[in-house]
C-alpha cells in the first residue's frame, strides 16, 4: 500500500512539473504581439508626422482660439478671453514634441531604408515644427531632445532661442543639400503634402530657410543675411516657392472621418451660432483697403455686414460684440470638409523677398516682390485679376502710396496673407508690431498694451523635467520675457 502511494505521489509530482516548467518554451511566441508591427515603412510614419504637426498647429484650439486671438485674426466670443487651461497647454506642448518625435522616427527609418529624400523631407518638417515650438515658448529642449532611446537622455536641457534657430538652420541646410545632390528614394504614399513630388519639398525646405532667417534678421542680421544670400543667390541649387502650386498645404479628402480641422469644429448650415468668429483687427485691416479678400475670409454676420470682435475692457458689454453682429469665418477656411491646413505658401516667400530687398538684406526689386505677394495671396483666394489691380491701387496698398511706409505695407500684407496660419501671423505681429494691436482682452487690458508674448510652459514639463529652467519669467501667464527676436520696445 505504501509503495503504491509513493508511486502515485511520484506520478503526480512528475505531472505537475511537466505541466508547468516544460511549457515555458512557448512563452516567447505567446508574448509576441499579434496586433502591431515592430518595423514599418518610413513613408507611413512620415504621414503620421505630417498629420500630427497639422492637427496641433492648424486645429481648433491653437489656430482659431489661442494664437488666432493673439494674432488679431479670430476670436472666441462669449467669454472672449485669452484662455489658459493647464490640460490644453500640456497637450499643445506634447503635440509639438510628439509630431517632431514621429518625424525623427521617420527619418531614422528612412536612413535604414537608404531613402535620403524621405530623410530630408522628415528633417525639413521637423525643423518647421521646431521653429513653431521655440517661437511659441522661447527656450525649449532641442539639441538633447529625442534621445531617450539612443542615449538614455531622460531630462533634456533647455536650449536658448538662438541656439534652437542655429540647429534649425543647420538641419534645413543639411536637407537642402541632400535635395541639391539629387538624393535618392521616393517619398511614397505617406507624403500627404506633395504626393511624392521631391522638387516641391526642396522648395519648401529652402523657403523655410528664408522664413527662419527673416524672423531673426533684426537680432542676428549677419546670419540672416548669409542665409538669405545663399538661398536667393543660387536659385538653381536652392529653389524656393514661386507659385501657388508650390504651397505646402495639407489637403483633406473630405470623406469622414478625414475632414479638415476647422470644418470639424465649425462646419454648419443655417443660423450662425458658433463662438469662433472674426477678429476686429483683421476685418478692419481688410475693410480699410477695400480688400476683396474680406468676403472670402469672413462671413456676413447674422445682422448682415462685416464686423470683427473687439477686445478691450468693455468687450463683454460692447453691442458690436453681440453674437449676431460679429462675422463668422469665411467658407473657404471653415466650411469645406475637403479644406486645407496651410503650412506655408508662396505669397509669404514673396513678402520675405520684398522685406529682404527693402531692408538691404539682399538685392532685388522690393516692389515687384511685394505686389507679387499680394497677387499670389489674392489668386489663391480666387480673386480676379481686375480686383487685384484695384486692390494694388488702394492708397495704403500702393507702393509708395498713402501714409504708411513701404516696409509697413509689406508687413501688413504679409500678415493678411497668413490667414489661417495664426501662429505665424502672431509671430510676425510680435516681430514687426504690424498691425498695431493695443487692445487686449478684458481681464488683461489694465496691465498690458499688446497681446500675449508667449504661450505658458506646460505644467507637466515642470514636473517631468528637472532641467526646466528656473529663470523663466511668466507674467500673468502669457507675458514675461519677450521672445528673443521680438525687438519691440515699450510693450508690456
Amino acid at each position: 500500500m505504501k509503495k503504491i502511494t509513493t508511486i502515485k505521489l511520484l506520478v503526480a509530482v512528475t505531472l505537475i512539473s511537466a505541466l508547468t516548467i516544460g511549457c515555458t518554451k512557448k512563452f516567447d511566441s505567446i508574448n509576441t504581439n499579434p496586433n502591431a508591427p515592430t518595423v514599418v515603412p518610413a513613408t507611413n510614419v512620415l504621414a503620421k508626422g505630417i498629420l500630427s504637426s497639422a492637427s496641433t498647429l492648424f486645429g481648433e484650439r491653437l489656430d482659431i482660439y489661442y494664437t488666432g486671438s493673439y494674432a488679431g485674426m479670430t476670436a472666441a466670443i462669449g467669454l472672449g478671453d485669452y484662455e489658459y487651461r493647464v490640460d490644453i497647454n500640456n497637450s499643445m506642448w506634447r503635440g509639438m514634441y510628439l509630431a517632431m518625435s514621429y518625424l525623427v522616427n521617420a527619418s531614422d527609418l528612412a536612413k535604414k531604408e537608404n531613402n535620403m529624400n524621405l530623410y530630408a523631407a522628415a528633417l525639413t518638417l521637423k525643423a518647421y515644427d521646431a521653429q513653431k515650438t521655440t517661437d511659441m515658448w522661447g527656450d525649449v529642449p532641442y539639441s538633447e531632445a529625442f534621445h531617450l532611446k539612443d542615449s538614455g537622455l531622460l531630462y533634456p536641457h533647455y536650449d536658448s532661442g538662438p541656439t534652437v534657430y542655429k540647429e534649425i538652420l543647420a538641419e534645413l541646410k543639411q536637407a537642402a543639400d541632400i535635395f541639391k545632390s539629387g538624393g535618392t528614394g521616393a517619398l511614397g504614399v505617406g507624403d500627404l503634402i506633395y504626393k511624392g513630388d521631391v522638387s516641391k519639398w526642396r522648395k519648401f525646405c529652402n523657403s523655410l530657410r528664408l522664413r527662419v532667417a527673416i524672423r531673426m534678421s533684426s537680432v542676428d542680421q549677419a546670419t540672416a543675411k548669409s542665409v538669405i544670400g545663399e538661398v536667393l543667390g543660387d536659385p538653381t541649387s536652392y529653389p524656393v516657392m514661386a507659385v501657388n502650386s508650390d504651397n505646402a498645404y495639407l489637403n483633406f479628402p473630405g470623406v469622414t472621418p478625414d475632414l479638415e480641422y476647422w470644418y470639424i469644429r465649425l462646419g454648419t448650415t443655417g443660423a450662425y451660432t458658433d463662438q469662433y468668429r472674426m477678429n476686429y483687427v483683421l476685418v478692419n485691416a481688410l475693410q480699410g483697403n477695400n480688400d476683396p479678400r474680406l468676403p472670402i475670409y469672413a462671413r456676413l454676420s447674422n445682422n448682415g455686414g462685416y464686423n470683427g470682435y473687439r477686445f478691450g475692457p468693455n468687450q463683454l458689454s460692447d453691442p458690436n460684440n453681440n453674437g449676431n453682429n460679429v462675422s463668422g469665418i469665411g467658407n473657404r477656411f471653415s466650411q469645406n470638409p475637403a479644406g486645407f491646413s496651410p503650412l506655408m505658401n508662396a505669397a509669404e516667400v514673396s513678402f520675405i523677398k520684398a522685406e529682404a530687398f527693402q531692408r538691404g538684406l539682399a538685392s532685388g526689386n522690393a516692389q515687384a516682390a511685394y505686389e507679387n505677394g499680394i497677387t499670389l495671396s489674392c489668386t489663391e483666394n480666387g480673386i480676379s485679376a481686375a480686383s487685384i489691380a484695384t486692390l494694388l491701387s488702394q492708397p495704403e496698398v500702393a507702393w509708395n502710396g498713402g501714409t504708411t511706409s513701404n516696409l509697413q505695407k509689406i508687413y501688413l500684407q504679409k500678415w493678411i496673407s497668413l490667414f489661417k496660419q495664426s501662429e505665424e501671423a502672431w509671430s510676425e505681429a510680435r516681430r514687426t508690431d504690424v498691425p498695431l494691436m493695443t487692445d487686449v482682452s478684458k481681464n488683461y487690458s489694465a496691465s498690458h498694451n499688446r497681446p500675449p508674448f508667449r504661450l505658458a510652459y506646460a505644467d507637466e514639463e515642470k514636473t517631468l523635467n528637472p532641467n526646466f529652467p528656473t529663470k523663466v519669467v511668466e507674467t500673468d501667464i502669457f507675458w514675461g520675457t519677450q521672445i528673443w527676436w521680438d525687438t519691440r520696445t515699450g510693450v508690456h
Binding site: 516548467i21 490640460d87 522616427n105 531632445a145 478625414d258 448650415t269 453681440n322 453674437g323 510652459y457 501667464i477
Partner: protein
C-alpha cells in the same frame, strides 16, 4: 422535508424512467440531468427507513451550521444546513454521532422521537469557526496566522444591491468601496488595505477556487459610459459565503494577482440533510434619487440682470428712468430665437434678472411678456424612480452518493432613474457533487448568465448633470419633455439637443458569460488526497453606441448618424493539480499541500465604427459613408506555477504555516520570467498554551506573518510597436509612445502583519486587531517622461509604495437572551497610510490619473498616494489672503500646487443588530474620514451662476467685496457684482475652490425582518419577510460638500482614473426594498 417536495421528486423520477429509450438518451444527458437522476436514486433507496429530523443547537440555543451526523456503524451520514436543521434516515435503536468543528462530539441513541433537538457543548477553544482560505481550502480559523474576514449570504442578500461590491461597504475592516454612481449598471471600486501600486489596486475575485474576471470600467475625470465591473455579474442569491483575504500573507498562494487581497466566494451547494428543497427569493427595490445639487432659485437666465448691476446702471446713467423690467428686457435677458436674436438668449447661464419678482419677459416656454418665475424642480423633473425586481428559485436535492442544486435568477430593471435606460440579467447556477466511491468525489459548479441593457447613460461631463448646471433656473423641463414627445429633437437653443432626445443615443450592452469548474478529489490514503480542478470564466460582450441622425450636430453637418460597436471576448482557464496531506505525529499535526497551476488568459476585441451613415439611423457597417473605422486587438498570456503549503500545529495551540510559490509568466523577459515567493505565518493560542481559564479572558491568540509576492505585467510590453490608423485610405503608423523596457523584472510586494484575537467576558466581546506593513517595489509602470525625450513614457521597474495600517474588528453581544431581546454590535475600523517613498531617478511625479480640467492625481515621492494637483489662488505671502487685481477679481497663476491626498484618513462601519423572537432589526452606519476630491460640479458652480453659493449673502442685490488683499498688500475694497466674481474667467484657472473633503457618515443599511414560525406547517421549511433600505441618509458630511448638495462618496467608474474626481454626479439614490424568502 414536506409532502409536496416528495411529490415533485416522484414526478421527476417518473418522467425520467418512463422515457422508453432511456439508455440512448443517457448519452446526451446534461450535467443537470445526471444530478436529478442521482437524486432520484437516492430518494428511492432511502425511502424505506424512518426519517429523523431535527436541529443542532449550541449552548445558547443558536443553530450550529453544517454539523455532521453519522449513523454509527453505517455509511449513512448527513450534514445539517445553515440553520442547523437536518434530516436523516435511520432505525430506532441505532446510534447517531453528531460532530461539528469547535464543539464536543456527541452521540445519542435514536428512539421514537422523530423530531430531535440536539445540543452540542462548545469545545474548549471556543474558536471552531472554519473559513475558506486560498485555493478553496477550508481551515479552522484558529490556526491562521493572518487576518481574514467572512460575510455570509445574509450579509450579501438581505439588503440587496445591483452590484455585489456595494454590499461589502462598511462590513469589512479596511475595505473601501466607492460607488461609480447611481446610473444603471455602474461600476464600483473596492480597495483592501489601501492602494499598493499606481494602477489596478483591486482584489482578485475567486469563485469556488477558480479566479473570475472583474474588468472594471476605468473612467477618467471626464467620465464616459460606465459599462460596469464584471464582478457585478455575480448573483448574491447563489453565494453561500464570502471570505476576504486581506494581505499578501493570506493570499500568497494565489500569486501575483493577490497582492491587493482576494475575495473568495463559495457558491451554494445542495444543503446536506435536505433531500429535496425548493427555495424562493423575491425582492423588489425602489431606487429613489435622493441627493440633489443645491441650485439657486432667485435669478434666471441671461447676463447683467442682477439687482446690483441694475443699480450700477442707474448710477452710471443719472437721468435714466428705466424700470427694472425694462432694463432686464433691454440688457439682461429676452428670448427671441435662442441663437442670439434676443438678449443673451443663446448662452444658457444664470446671471440674468431676478426671478419671482413680478418681471415679465419674452420666454421660450411661455411666450412674450410672460411671468419670469423660478422652476425649482426643473432638475428633479428629469428623473424617475428606478424599480428593480429580483426573482430567484432554486431546487436542491440530496442523496448519499450525489447531491445537486439548480438555481435561476431573473433581475430586471425596466427603467433607470434616467429616461430610456434599463438593465436585466438572467442567471442560471448549478452545482453537483458525486461520491461514486468512498474515495472519489466529483464536484461541478457552473454559472451561466445573460445581461442586457438597451441603454447605459454617460456619466460625467456629458449628459443631464452638466446640462442643467448650464441651464437657466427658469427653464421648464416639463415643456421640454412635451416638445420632445410632440416634435422630437426640439430645444430652446438651436444647436443644442433636447435633453430627452439625446438619451436615445443608446449605449447598448450585451454580455453572455459562463464560469465554473469541475474538480475531482481522490483520497489516496486516509492522510493523503489528490485533487484535479479545471475552471474557466469566459464572456462575450457587445457594446454598441449610436448617435442619431437628428442631433443638432448631425443636422448641421448633414450626417446620417454615427455608431461604434465593440465585440469583446475574454477567457481565463485555470487548471490545478493539488496533493493534500494531513497527518498527526503525537502532539504535532502536519497538514498541507503541493500543487501546480496552469493559467491561460485570452482577450480579443474588435471594433467597427462609422462617423457618417448613408441611410440615416441604419447602424450597420455596410451603410457607412466615408471610411469605416475598424480595429482589432488580440491578447494572450500564460502563467505556470508550482506551489506548496505546510502547516504544523503543536498540541492545538501553536500553529506554523509556510507557503512557497514559483511562477513563470509569459509577459516577462526570459531571464526574469521565473520568480519565487514565500510566506510564513505563526499563530499562538495563549489561553490554551498557557492554560489560562478565566471568565474574563476566554480566548487569546497572537498571530504574525510575513510574505513576499511577485507580480508580472500585461502581454506585449517588451517590444516597441507601431499602432496603425489610416488617412484617406493610406496606412498611418504611429510609433509607440512608451519606450519598451530593457531588463524588466517582476514587481514585488513584501508585507508583514501582526495581530490578535481576543474573546472576553464569557465570549461576550470579541476583538480582532491587526497591524500591517506592506511595501511594493519594482512596480512595473510606464513612468511619464517629458515628451521632449521623444517618448511620453518609459516602461520600467520603479517606485516604492508603502502601506501601513491598523484594522480593528470588535463584536459585542450587548444583550443575550435566549427568549428575549438580543443585541449585537459589530464595529470595524481601519486606518491606512499609503506613502509613495520613491519614484524613479529625478522624477518628481507620476500621473495616476490625468483627471479633468487640468486637475490631476499624482504620485509624488514622500507624499501619500494620490495627490490632487491643480491651480491655486494667488495668495499674499504675509497674510495668506487671496490677492486680487485692481478690478477686485482674483489673480490667476499657472503654477500648480499640491492640494492633499484623495485617500481617506480612516474608514469604518458600525452595525447594530437586534433580535427579538422572530423579529430582527439591523442598521449599518458606514463612515469615512478625509480624502480630498476635485469636484467638477463645484468648479462649475461659480461660472454658471446656477448654485446657491452664487446668491448667498445677498451678493446679487448688493455686490460683494472679495475677502482679499490688493497686489500691494492693502485690503481689497473694490466692490464687484456677483457675476464679475463668480462668472469671471479667472475661475477656469483655479481649482482650489473646487477641492472638497470626502468625509461622510452614512446610514448604509436598515433591515427589518420577520421569520415566520413554520414549525407547524409541514410543507414549509422557512418563510422570511423583510423590508430594507440602503443609503438612507447622509448623517454627516463636510460643509464643503454639503454646500453643493453633493454625495461625497461617489467616484467615477471603478478604476484608479476616476479616484478623486466628481463630475456632475447623477443624484445618488435612496433604495427601499421588500423581500420574501421561502423554503419548501
Amino acid at each position: 422535508m414536506g409532502y409536496q417536495s416528495e411529490t415533485v421528486a416522484l414526478l421527476f423520477s417518473k418522467y425520467i424512467f418512463l422515457k422508453p429509450n432511456f439508455l440512448a438518451m443517457r448519452k446526451t444527458l446534461t450535467v443537470f440531468g445526471m444530478l436529478l437522476l442521482c437524486v432520484t436514486f437516492g430518494t428511492t433507496l432511502l425511502a424505506q427507513q424512518s426519517r429523523f429530523t431535527g436541529t443542532v443547537l449550541n449552548d445558547d440555543g443558536q443553530p450550529i451550521k453544517f454539523a455532521t451526523l453519522q449513523v454509527v456503524g453505517s455509511s449513512v451520514g448527513v450534514s445539517a444546513d445553515q440553520q442547523g436543521r437536518f434530516s436523516i434516515n435511520a432505525s430506532s435503536g441505532q446510534q447517531l454521532q453528531i460532530s461539528a468543528v469547535g464543539y464536543e462530539t456527541h452521540t445519542i441513541t435514536l428512539g421514537n422521537d422523530r423530531d430531535l433537538v440536539i445540543k452540542l457543548a462548545s469545545s474548549e477553544s471556543k474558536m471552531g469557526e472554519v473559513v475558506v482560505t486560498a485555493l478553496g481550502i477550508t481551515r479552522s480559523k484558529k490556526t491562521l496566522g493572518y487576518a481574514v474576514q467572512e460575510l455570509n449570504n445574509a450579509a450579501l442578500t438581505e439588503a440587496a444591491d445591483n452590484n455585489i461590491v456595494n454590499t461589502i461597504s462598511g462590513k469589512i475592516a479596511g475595505a473601501q468601496v466607492t460607488s461609480g454612481g447611481s446610473t444603471i449598471g455602474s461600476s464600483s471600486r473596492i480597495v483592501i488595505r489601501g492602494n499598493a501600486s499606481f494602477s489596478g489596486n483591486q482584489p482578485l475575485f475567486v469563485v469556488d477556487g477558480t479566479p473570475i474576471d472583474n474588468t472594471t470600467t476605468n473612467l477618467g475625470g471626464g467620465g464616459g459610459v460606465d459599462w460596469g465591473n464584471t464582478a457585478a455579474d455575480l448573483d448574491p442569491n447563489d453565494i453561500e459565503s464570502m471570505t476576504v483575504l486581506k494581505g499578501a500573507s493570506a493570499a500568497a498562494l494565489y500569486g501575483s494577482r493577490a497582492t491587493n487581497g482576494v475575495i473568495l466566494i463559495t457558491t451554494k451547494k445542495a444543503a446536506k440533510g435536505r433531500k429535496l428543497g425548493v427555495d424562493f427569493n423575491s425582492s423588489v427595490v425602489a431606487n429613489v434619487p435622493g441627493y440633489w445639487p443645491k441650485y439657486q432659485n432667485e435669478y434666471g437666465g441671461g447676463w447683467d440682470g442682477e439687482e446690483y448691476v441694475y443699480k450700477r446702471f442707474l448710477a452710471a446713467n443719472p437721468g435714466s428712468t428705466l424700470s427694472y423690467n425694462d432694463y432686464a428686457k433691454q440688457y439682461a435677458y429676452n428670448y427671441v430665437d435662442g441663437a442670439g436674436g434676443g438678449v443673451n438668449d443663446a448662452w444658457p447661464i444664470n446671471w440674468g434678472p431676478r426671478l419671482d419678482a413680478g418681471l415679465k419677459l419674452d420666454q421660450w416656454s411661455t411666450g412674450k411678456n410672460s411671468p419670469w418665475v423660478s422652476r425649482p424642480n426643473n432638475y428633479k423633473d428629469f428623473y424617475s424612480t428606478q424599480i428593480t425586481t429580483v426573482n430567484n428559485v432554486s431546487v436542491s436535492a440530496n442523496g448519499d452518493k450525489a447531491s445537486g442544486r439548480f438555481s435561476f435568477t431573473n433581475e430586471n430593471t425596466p427603467r433607470g432613474i434616467l429616461p430610456n435606460t434599463d438593465q436585466k440579467q438572467n442567471t442560471v447556477n448549478t452545482s453537483f457533487t458525486l461520491n461514486p466511491t468512498d474515495r472519489l468525489s466529483l464536484v461541478g459548479n457552473l454559472t451561466y448568465l445573460v445581461k442586457h441593457s438597451n441603454n447605459i447613460p454617460i456619466n460625467g461631463y456629458t449628459g443631464v448633470g452638466v446640462d442643467f448646471a448650464w441651464t437657466e433656473r427658469d427653464f421648464d423641463t416639463k415643456y421640454l419633455e412635451d416638445q420632445f414627445n410632440q416634435s422630437g429633437n426640439v430645444s430652446m437653443w438651436p444647436g443644442v439637443d433636447n435633453y430627452f432626445y439625446y438619451y436615445h443615443n443608446n449605449n447598448t450592452l450585451d454580455r453572455d458569460r459562463a464560469f465554473g469548474n469541475i474538480n475531482a478529489t481522490y483520497k489516496i490514503t486516509n492522510w493523503l488526497s489528490a485533487m484535479a480542478r479545471g475552471g474557466v470564466d469566459y464572456y462575450r460582450e457587445r457594446r454598441k453606441s449610436i448617435v442619431q441622425s437628428g442631433t443638432a450636430s448631425n443636422v448641421r453637418k448633414k450626417r446620417g448618424g454615427q455608431f461604434t460597436q465593440t465585440d469583446i471576448f475574454t477567457q481565463e482557464q485555470n487548471y490545478d493539480f493539488i496533493l493534500n496531506f494531513d497527518k498527526t505525529f503525537g502532539a504535532i499535526r502536519i497538514d498541507g499541500l503541493a500543487g501546480g497551476n496552469y493559467r491561460d488568459n485570452t482577450y480579443n476585441s474588435s471594433t467597427l465604427g462609422a462617423s457618417d451613415l448613408t441611410v440615416p439611423d441604419l447602424y450597420t457597417i455596410s451603410n457607412v459613408k466615408g471610411t469605416p473605422a475598424a480595429s482589432m486587438f488580440d491578447s494572450h498570456k500564460r502563467t505556470n506555477s508550482v506551489f506548496a503549503e505546510a502547516n504544523a500545529s503543536y498540541k492545538d495551540f501553536l500553529f506554523l504555516g509556510v507557503t512557497g510559490r514559483n511562477d513563470w509568466s509569459s509577459t516577462l523577459p526570459a531571464n526574469n520570467r521565473s520568480y519565487f515567493y514565500p510566506s510564513v505565518s505563526l499563530g499562538f493560542d495563549l489561553t490554551k498554551g498557557l492554560n489560562i481559564t478565566s471568565d474574563i479572558l476566554n480566548y487569546a491568540k497572537l498571530r504574525a506573518s510575513w510574505a513576499k509576492v511577485g507580480g508580472d505585467t500585461d502581454p506585449y510590453q517588451l517590444a516597441g510597436t507601431y499602432s496603425a490608423s489610416s488617412f484617406n485610405g493610406i496606412s498611418v503608423f504611429t510609433p509607440g509612445g512608451t519606450l519598451p523596457p530593457r531588463d524588466l523584472k517582476p514587481q514585488e510586494t513584501k508585507s508583514y502583519e501582526i495581530g490578535t484575537n481576543l474573546r472576553l467576558l464569557k465570549n461576550r466581546i470579541s476583538l480582532d486587531l491587526t497591524y500591517y506593513d506592506q511595501t511594493t517595489v519594482n512596480q512595473i509602470i510606464s513612468v511619464a517622461t517629458s515628451t521632449t525625450t521623444g517618448y511620453t513614457g518609459e516602461l520600467l521597474n520603479a517606485g516604492e509604495v508603502e502601506n501601513k495600517g491598523v484594522e480593528i474588528m470588535l463584536n459585542g453581544k450587548v444583550l443575550k437572551n435566549k427568549t428575549g431581546l438580543n443585541w449585537d454590535i459589530t464595529v470595524n475600523w481601519a486606518k491606512n497610510s499609503d506613502m509613495v517613498n520613491t519614484l524613479y531617478g529625478g522624477l518628481q511625479s507620476y500621473v495616476i490619473s490625468p483627471g479633468f480640467g487640468g486637475a490631476k492625481t499624482l504620485a509624488i515621492p514622500g507624499q501619500k498616494w494620490g495627490i490632487l494637483w491643480g491651480l491655486p489662488f494667488v495668495r499674499d505671502l504675509k497674510s495668506g489672503k487671496i490677492v486680487v487685481d485692481n478690478t477686485g477679481i482674483p489673480l490667476t497663476t499657472n503654477v500648480a500646487k499640491n492640494f492633499g491626498t484623495v485617500t481617506p484618513d480612516w474608514i469604518g462601519g458600525i452595525n447594530n443588530s437586534f433580535q427579538y423572537k422572530n423579529f430582527n432589526l439591523s442598521f449599518l452606519v458606514d463612515m469615512r474620514k478625509g480624502g480630498k476630491f476635485f469636484s467638477v460640479t463645484a468648479w462649475h458652480s461659480y461660472p454658471t451662476g446656477s448654485y446657491t453659493v452664487t446668491t448667498a449673502n445677498h451678493v446679487r442685490e448688493n455686490g460683494m467685496i472679495v475677502d482679499a488683499v490688493k497686489q500691494d498688500g492693502t485690503p481689497n475694497d473694490v466692490r464687484v457684482a456677483a457675476e464679475d466674481y463668480y462668472g469671471g474667467a479667472w475661475v477656469w484657472n483655479n481649482h482650489e475652490y473646487s477641492i472638497l473633503d470626502g468625509s461622510y457618515i452614512k446610514l448604509r443599511e436598515v433591515i427589518f425582518g420577520y421569520n415566520v414560525n413554520v414549525r407547524r406547517i409541514p410543507w414549509l421549511a422557512k418563510l422570511n419577510l423583510s423590508v430594507f433600505g440602503r443609503n438612507l441618509a447622509i448623517l454627516s458630511q463636510d460643509k464643503s460638500t454639503k454646500q453643493f448638495g453633493l454625495d461625497p462618496e461617489v467616484g467615477l467608474g471603478g478604476g484608479d482614473y476616476g479616484v478623486g474626481f466628481e463630475n456632475f454626479q447623477i443624484p445618488t439614490t435612496r433604495n427601499f426594498g421588500f423581500k420574501v424568502s421561502a423554503g419548501f
